[in-house]
Symmetry: C2
Subunit: 178 residues, 2 copies
DNA sequence: CTCCGTTGGCTAACAGTGATAGCTACGGTA
DNA sequence: TACCGTAGCTATCACTGTTAGCCAACGGAG
């Protein structure tokens, strides 16, 4: 059955990915581990991007299960998130790619490390991490270009600030959407 | 000056990226737009990944400026975030890649669209978006494998839930880091 | 049994990729 | 003038995703 071969290919792709990084995931390498040759893969999968899309879906599903173990409220959110994220498959690289080594970065930028974020939250590491996560998401919120223009983004930003502001008095500020 | 040629190459790369997507960003294409040939680029840049790293840094700096316009508190957060994010250059693909077309996804998954997230927040679109952003960040928090093991992640998750829980009574719950 | 279409493999090949080797020409300095 | 580093070039390498075209095996229809 074709479906069987597809899931097998996705599994092999994931093995290669986790073992040797994204550059190791080639159609020839996948096929070799399946005991066939690369062109035969195209009898089961239209192209490499489709294979990667399957990988995304599997990874996000697993993530949902992992989050479910962490608590039911979080699982609800994760399920909702997954539904949205499935429409943003370029998450794939975010979730799987090995970061570029630090010494490849332009000189100097890496010196501004974790300190400013911790300082902004006065040493509260947990909130600093949550804020990092949220801000990280905001990047794609802005750049993914999947949302309405600036007016709505402003509201999302305001909600974000209200939820995460390190200054307690900002907490009482009325939320824009409510 | 070599530095000049590098920034020029990064600019050209960005043009190609925004015009025709990530696959259009090849060393040959970049060189062609600069009026030179691909091998000459390697006199200024060690490899393509280094060039991409410059692109990340530039994009994140611009994002910081954009966020600064949205308000000073947010700018503080953005600056702190940027410092952390600069250590995660695989953000590059997240920020720039064109999503894989929906019809390449495995059949069925795309049907679970925005509705569950909106439902979880009882129609409050702004908070739903902020939660999406935060959850999006959480994905990389978990998978980037840059943080200490489960114990600390649990704390970050708890902080995240406390901040974004759609149920008001959860708000009073003591934050784990404080 | 015999034909026939489908499935799933194969080899050969193509255009394009990042990257290296080795050459040449210019500009500044001793 | 002699020299040396910078920055371009051509030619080339190994490898990538992908297609074309061929072929063996299987299952069902006449």
């Amino acid at each position: 059955m074709a479906e069987d071969r597809v899931t097998q290919a996705v599994g092999v792709a994931r093995e290669l990915l986790e073992a040797d990084g994204p550059d190791a995931v080639s159609m020839r390498a996948i096929a070799a581990r399946m005991g066939i040759r690369a062109p035969s893969l195209y009898k089961h999968v239209p192209d490499k991007a489709a294979l990667e899309a399957h990988l995304i879906a599997a990874a996000l599903t697993e993530l949902g299960h992992a989050l479910r173990d962490a608590g039911p409220e979080l699982a609800d959110l994760a399920a909702a998130y997954r539904s949205w994220a499935i429409g943003h498959p370029h998450l794939y690289t975010l979730a799987t790619a090995q970061p570029i080594p630090r010494d490849r970065l332009p000189a100097g930028v890496e010196d501004q490390a974790a300190a400013p974020l911790l300082a902004a939250f006065e040493g509260d590491e947990d909130r600093a991490r949550a804020a990092w996560a949220a801000a990280h998401g905001l990047v794609s919120l802005e750049l993914a270009d999947r949302f309405p223009p600036d007016a709505d983004l402003d509201a999302a930003w305001a909600a974000f600030v209200a939820a995460f502001s390190p200054r307690p008095e900002r907490r009482a500020q009325p939320r824009p959407g409510a």
